[in-house]
């Protein structure tokens, strides 16, 4: 591949972002991030049992995907996106398509909005015959609304031609025959272009129904100043989930602030992303998704590990009152607000949240500025704690799918859909569209100059990348969404409100999962 001369106006305006990063504070953060990442690389090398044990779930080889390797390969590939996509669909092709996705919203950092706008400008220049108009055939839908909207639209034969969905959602549409089977070769890819775990998330009954756009794992974030006030070593995050419970209580007792940012809201995607790593770490799972050879048929949520994980949450919420009382109604957005205001000491955090802290600091003025800068200075990222059985994190991300003619209500213009997908999932845009919060789904993206720019400019990106080998995908079954967004959060709520005992809550969740799979209420 050669470097495609992207129009100058297609390059995102990184000026405000660079301004932060070029400040003394930004350089300090970068330096620290580099040190942290190097340390994590060394940790992985020294503790291969943690990573190797789970590598087969995602196919992310921990021996290969080290922070050092990622830095080494970044910037080694020149990409000419237009030339590549022209091999799939001619650039003068004229047609129509429609696209729904979760794009940047008002709360997003400015750079995300800029990149999104730049993408659409770039697509319009590359494929001027396939027009997209925002609000018409291009819908940027809120994360919490998109699934319902897609389900309703598909049921009413009004689905969009193409949709980008979080990794958990796609399989139910595939199982109902609402998304189209695809072949990677039609887009110029091979199975080596993506992580096996990512491809697994778009596979139903052995057939492929989508293309991975981006993949990420979360990491652990903590406020060193609060740790220090609580008499804890600010440079040492809790190593295990049991430590999290202990630290959380120590922080609450010493400072009155919430120790850990628990999220247990029902119908919020944030809850499973933050509880499942804990459940898996204790040796449990909703089904057997964390086991070496998952069958997705064995319910494990009420095993010893599941009860221990739930008990740990109970201890923090009920016994110690060391997590926000609002954990049952908070989404991560509200929890993050509590972190930003210095009321939470530690939590599982998406990579984009650190970028949001930087964004806040760049926009703050007066006393707020001082507070925001202090928070950025005191924020550290590390690996998510391990449990008695493993260290785990949700292998997240998104995939893009094409709906069938039946559910769109018309004949889908496949070439137009392919042009959009090939353009957005190629090495260039799979990297740039994942700028702050994720990794390119297309593994060639790691080799691009844009990846190098990201690594050079985004602190802690290496840390979250280092969690990838510990990633566990959600069960790839159509019932997964309900299990993760309803049953698991309700189990937490039953236990945390003491509506049921910890064991009864876990048992009920187990029976609900079993009933769900067999078609009960």
């Amino acid at each position: 591949m050669t470097h495609h001369p992207v129009p100058s106006d297609a390059t995102p305006d990184l000026t405000p972002y660079r301004a932060i990063l070029q400040s003394p504070l930004g350089r300090r953060q970068l330096l620290r991030a580099g040190v942290t990442a190097a340390g994590l690389g060394a940790f992985l090398a020294a503790n291969p049992r943690f990573a190797l044990a789970q590598a087969d779930k995602t196919g992310v080889d921990p021996a290969t995907w080290t922070p050092e390797h990622i830095k080494e390969i970044a910037g080694t590939l020149e990409v000419d996106t237009a030339a590549e996509v022209a091999k799939i669909v001619p650039l003068d092709y004229a047609g129509n398509s429609s696209y729904w996705y979760v794009g940047p919203n008002e709360a997003s950092a400015d750079i995300e909005k800029t990149i999104d706008a730049t993408f659409w400008e770039g697509f319009a220049k590359t494929y001027s015959g396939i027009p997209f108009t925002s609000g018409d055939n291009l819908q940027n839908v809120n994360y919490n609304d998109l699934l319902d909207k897609l389900r309703t639209a598909a049921t009413g034969n009004a689905a969009p031609d193409v949709a980008k969905m979080p990794i958990l959602w796609g399989v139910e549409f595939a199982a109902r025959g609402q998304t189209r089977e695809i072949a990677l070769e039609d887009f110029g890819y091979t199975t080596e272009s993506f992580w096996p775990g990512a491809l697994k998330s778009v596979t139903w009954e052995g057939k492929l129904y989508g293309i991975p756009t981006n993949n990420e794992t979360m990491a652990f974030i903590w406020n060193k100043a609060i740790f220090e006030k609580a008499g804890l070593d600010p440079e040492k995050p809790p190593a295990t989930w049991d430590d999290v419970v202990t630290y959380s209580k120590a922080i609450k007792d010493a400072t009155g602030k919430a120790g850990f940012g628990l999220v247990a809201r029902v119908n919020a995607g944030n809850t499973p992303f933050r509880f499942m790593p804990m459940l898996w770490a204790y040796g449990s799972g909703a089904l057997d998704e964390a086991e070496d050879e998952p069958t997705y048929k064995t319910v494990m949520i009420n095993n010893e590990g599941g009860i221990a994980a739930l008990q740990a949450c109970y201890d923090m919420y009920v016994r110690d009152k060391s997590v926000p009382a609002s954990a049952l109604t908070n989404t991560q957005t509200e929890n993050f607000d509590l972190y930003v205001s210095g009321e939470i000491a530690m939590m599982i955090s998406h990579p984009s949240e650190y970028a949001k802290l930087l964004d806040n600091a760049s926009k703050a003025t007066g006393a707020d500025k001082e507070f925001a800068d202090e928070l950025v200075k005191n924020t550290a990222y590390g690996l998510i704690p391990e449990g008695p059985v493993r260290r785990a994190v949700v292998f997240g991300g998104s995939n893009v799918h094409i709906f069938t003619d039946d559910v769109t209500g018309h004949t889908v213009d496949l070439d137009a859909a392919k042009a959009l997908i090939a353009f957005s999932t190629g090495p260039e845009w799979s990297t740039r569209l994942a700028w702050l919060g994720s990794n390119p789904g297309n593994l060639d993206g790691f080799r691009t100059t844009w990846m190098k720019e990201r690594l050079d400019s985004i602190p802690f990106l290496d840390v979250t990348t280092s969690m990838l080998p510990y990633g566990i995908p959600f069960p790839v079954i159509p019932e997964s969404t309900q299990i993760m967004n309803e049953i698991v959060p309700n189990m937490l709520q039953n236990a945390l409100t003491e509506s049921k005992s910890v064991k009864d809550s876990a048992d009920q969740a187990a029976s609900e999962i079993e009933a769900l799979v067999s078609g009960g209420y």
Binding site: V266, A325, N490, T497, K500, Y521
Partner: protein, 331 residues
């Protein structure tokens, strides 16, 4: 000074076509049928005028209704497909513990919201009916909750109640009423009362407006007459005002009841039905079953149960709406 009798005026005699036909019961039925046909013929233009509206209702209400009933007899697994399962969906719902918990929540929510919104609205209507300086401003202020968008109101209340940095909990703690932050929405015990307070705040202006309109129709002579007869304020209220407002009260309560039974937005935004289903009501459960769990068959059966209940409420509503007609002898 002459007093006005408290009793209603004697009803005028029925028009000839409304009067009971003479003859035996056997003769009355065909006579009634003939009357109906005659009346339809006389009013054919009226039926023509409402035909487009009826057609729209058949399409947007009738078809979904029939389809929902049909779907309620099928199992619709999330993996797709549809299997006829008779009344299994109904028995599954009616025999589940969750249904009865949700039903209890629904009745608590509906009855207490309706009761308190009505009492507060009636009180407000009585107050602002009186002449006082600034009455217009007070009326305007009291209407604010009603005109505010439901979504905006739900978010504001959610923040007010927030268990960690909500204004209400903070004030209670600041004033020493509670030792710790009071937990509203994250408590299974307090979530429903908290939601009802927010709902009452949002709804009472509707009651106020309805009853204020009704109060303004109470004839002044009637009140004066009651006073002359020695009735005190309470007796005037109980024996003159309330009977005069009877129809307005019944219709307002029924409308409130139905609105609360179907109320979705406030609960969905503030709690999503939690914690631990403590604020899950029928309509939220139906939405959850259909669009979160993809159990369209179960959700349809649940909807049919709700529909039948609503239908019985609708019966009383129609009776209340047409009671005046009946009193005047019109069918």
């Amino acid at each position: 000074m002459s007093t006005v009798p408290l009793q209603h005026e004697p009803q005028p005699p029925l028009p000839p076509e409304q009067a009971l036909p003479e003859g035996s019961a056997r003769r009355r039925a065909p006579e009634r049928q003939r009357n109906i046909l005659l009346r339809i013929r006389d009013h054919w233009a009226d039926y023509l005028y409402i035909a487009p509206a009826l057609l729209v209702m058949v399409v947007v209400i009738g078809y979904p209704l029939v389809y929902t009933v049909y779907l309620s007899f099928f199992e619709t697994p999330p993996r797709g497909g549809r299997n006829f399962n008779g009344i299994d969906n109904y028995t599954t719902i009616l025999t589940s513990e969750r249904f009865w918990m949700v039903t209890r929540n629904t009745f608590n929510w509906t009855i207490f919201s309706t009761l308190f919104a009505f009492l507060l609205g009636f009180g407000a209507a009585l107050v602002i009916q009186r002449e006082f300086i600034g009455r217009g401003i007070v009326r305007g202020i009291l209407l604010i909750p009603w005109v505010i968008s439901l979504v905006a109101a739900a978010y504001v209340w959610r923040w007010l109640y927030h268990s960690d940095y909500g204004l209400i909990g903070g004030m209670l703690q600041e004033w020493g009423v509670t030792q710790e932050r009071f937990v509203f929405l994250d408590s299974t015990r307090w979530v429903m009362p908290s939601l009802i307070v927010a709902n009452v705040w949002k709804e009472f202006p509707f009651v106020m407006i309805m009853l204020l309109a009704g109060l303004q129709t109470v004839p002044d002579q009637l009140m004066r007459a009651a006073r002359v007869d020695g009735a005190n304020s309470w007796n005037q209220f109980i024996h003159v005002t309330v009977p005069h407002l009877k129809n307005v009260i019944v219709i307002t309560i029924l409308l409130l009841f139905v609105a609360n039974l179907n109320s979705f937005g406030l609960i969905w935004i503030m709690t999503g039905g939690g914690p631990a289903y403590a604020s899950q009501i029928w309509i939220v459960e139906i939405y959850t079953l259909a669009f979160r769990s993809l159990r369209f068959g179960l959700a349809s059966a649940f909807s049919v149960i709700l529909f039948l209940f609503m239908l019985s409420i609708g019966y009383f509503y129609v009776r209340a709406m047409t009671s005046g007609d009946r009193e005047r002898g019109h069918a």
